[in-house]
Amino acid sequence: MENPVRKSLLMWLFLSPLVVVILFPFAVMVSTAVKPRVEVLMYPPSWFPSEIRLQNFIDMWQATRLGPAVMNSLLVSIAATVLCLLVAIPAAYAAARMEFTGRKLFRQFLLVTQMLSPIVLVLGIFRLMAKMGFVDQLPALVLAYVAFNLAFSVWMLQAYFQTIPKELEEAATLDGASTLQRMRLIFLPLAAPAIGITAVFIFIYCWNEFVLAMTLLRSPEKSTLTLQTFSLVGGRYQVEWDHVMAATLVASVPVAAIFALLQRSLVSGLTVGAVK
């Protein structure tokens, strides 16, 4: 048998170039975010600042109006996640549990919408929202995010729902449970982990989305977090990189932490959804 210590070292050695490249931007974020401003624009640049200025985060929070942007992102992402699940769960239940004419067609239809990215449709979506008087309104983003996450959500959920044994519900029916009781007491509790994982994926999509936010929103006070951070670097002559890096750090760390914590279940969930 192989020596496990030697094997581990070898594996990490193989992975090290990629690990360095992945961690590099995080190191840049942290290093720039805590530098005094004069050292941000100093040549040659250095990884280690003369002092660690956490005050930068407070300055940035005020100067960049990040607070309202975080609120907008939270509002939009939560609303879109809830609405998307409300629409997707019944559809996934039908696709997983019921026989009906057109079921195969429905699944193919889902596949097609899953392939479409907002960027290809962005002109048409802008015109639709303009027609409905929704431009520069956060609900416009919510609606669009729901539409673009539906296919994925239904697909993931039905793959899970199929793994929940039908017999449990049938037994409940024999015991005289109504449809609603069956749902509330048997099916939904068993499906809860799957619904949770799907919710995390939808939430992260909405939190990170850029193209639709940039197109549909106008006024700075409506900006979401990605859009607000982009506006700090887009089309400016003087970019305050210490603030920008502090902002990207604030925007990235919570999601990265959620991801790291839930990594195992997110990954196994996605594998079920992608291949089933």
């Binding site: 992975l15 992945i22 931007p25 193919q108 960027i119 002109l123 196994s268």
Partner: protein, 291 residues
């Protein structure tokens, strides 16, 4: 009656949503693409596909199309070539494997917009840490303006495109690897098959369905990939990093060329639809073979 209509009632909201937010925009753009459109979006008479002719004869069209192909082929190819060995490593048992998995999945959680912003700053010619690090290690004499030089900007974007596509790809391939049966490999080992032979004749064919899905899905994602390029270069210098999606955005929202933009949208929609058919065929075949 109630029984038979139940499934349709359950799927109805999702269908309505998709037709409203996705279907109608496609119809609207298809309609615009064959009519004369002014910059405020008012459509006039049917114009004999003049928008498509103007699109295909536009001086930037061929360049953007070729760059889109180069971008897609290199990013997808590079991603899959790198992801297979990474997935094989992460599938082994070793100290710190969970940590390694978390690190490799990390770029997935961070939005492409943020990734683009941080790399843009890191690649800054004067104050960026990429130049600083390279010259610290003596790999470079003079600082390079990575994103402002047309020969380096596009390859850099491709490299970062690969970096952000690796997590999803590794995840799906890992899923494929974990579904393999260990005893088949034991048997092959006992029969004297080398590690390479086991990979070539057992692992590779067995994870083929997963590779197919990853290829097609990545092709679609990368073909549509907008934020990285938009944030880092906006297609500059001199359109040398423009791909179809960034050009489409400029046509629609910067130059007000709504007719050409909708024609381009429809062309891209057609390409994606064709790819989706390929994916559907692969997914169905996969479903049948695992059933």
């Amino acid at each position: 009656m109630g029984r038979a209509s139940a499934p349709y009632l359950l799927i109805l909201p999702s269908i309505l949503f998709a037709f409203w937010i996705i279907g109608y925009p496609i119809y609207d753009m298809a309609n615009m693409s064959v009519h004369a459109v002014n910059r405020f979006g008012k459509t006039a008479a049917f114009n004999d596909f003049a928008n498509y002719q103007r699109l295909f004869s536009h001086q930037l069209f061929i360049g953007c199309l070729i760059r889109t192909l180069v971008w897609t082929v290199f990013v997808v190819g590079g991603t899959v070539l790198l992801s297979v060995p990474i997935a094989l490593i992460l599938n082994e048992k070793f100290f710190g494997r969970t940590l390694a998995r978390i690190i490799i999945m990390l770029p997935w959680a961070v939005s492409l917009t943020m990734t683009g912003i941080v790399w843009r700053w890191s690649l800054n010619g004067q104050f960026g840490m990429v130049n600083a690090t390279l010259s610290n290690f003596g790999l470079q004499d003079t600082p390079v303006e990575w994103l402002a030089t047309s020969t380096t900007a596009f390859p850099i974007l491709i490299a970062i495109g690969i970096l952000v596509s690796i997590p999803f790809t590794v995840t799906v391939i890992l899923g494929g690897l974990s579904s393999l049966q260990a005893d088949v490999f034991e048997a092959a080992k006992i029969d004297g098959a080398t590690a390479w032979q086991r990979f070539r004749y057992l692992t590779l064919p067995l994870i083929r369905p997963f590779l197919n899905i990853v290829l097609v899905l990545n092709f679609i994602y990368v073909f549509n990939s907008f934020p990285l390029i938009w944030v880092m270069t906006q297609g500059d210098p001199a359109n040398s990093t423009d791909i179809l999606v960034t050009w489409l955005y400029k046509l629609a929202f910067r130059y007000g060329e709504l007719g050409i933009a909708s024609a381009l949208s429809i062309v891209m929609f057609a390409i994606l639809l064709a790819l989706t058919m390929v994916y559907a065929a692969l997914a169905m075949r996969n479903e049948r073979s695992t059933a």
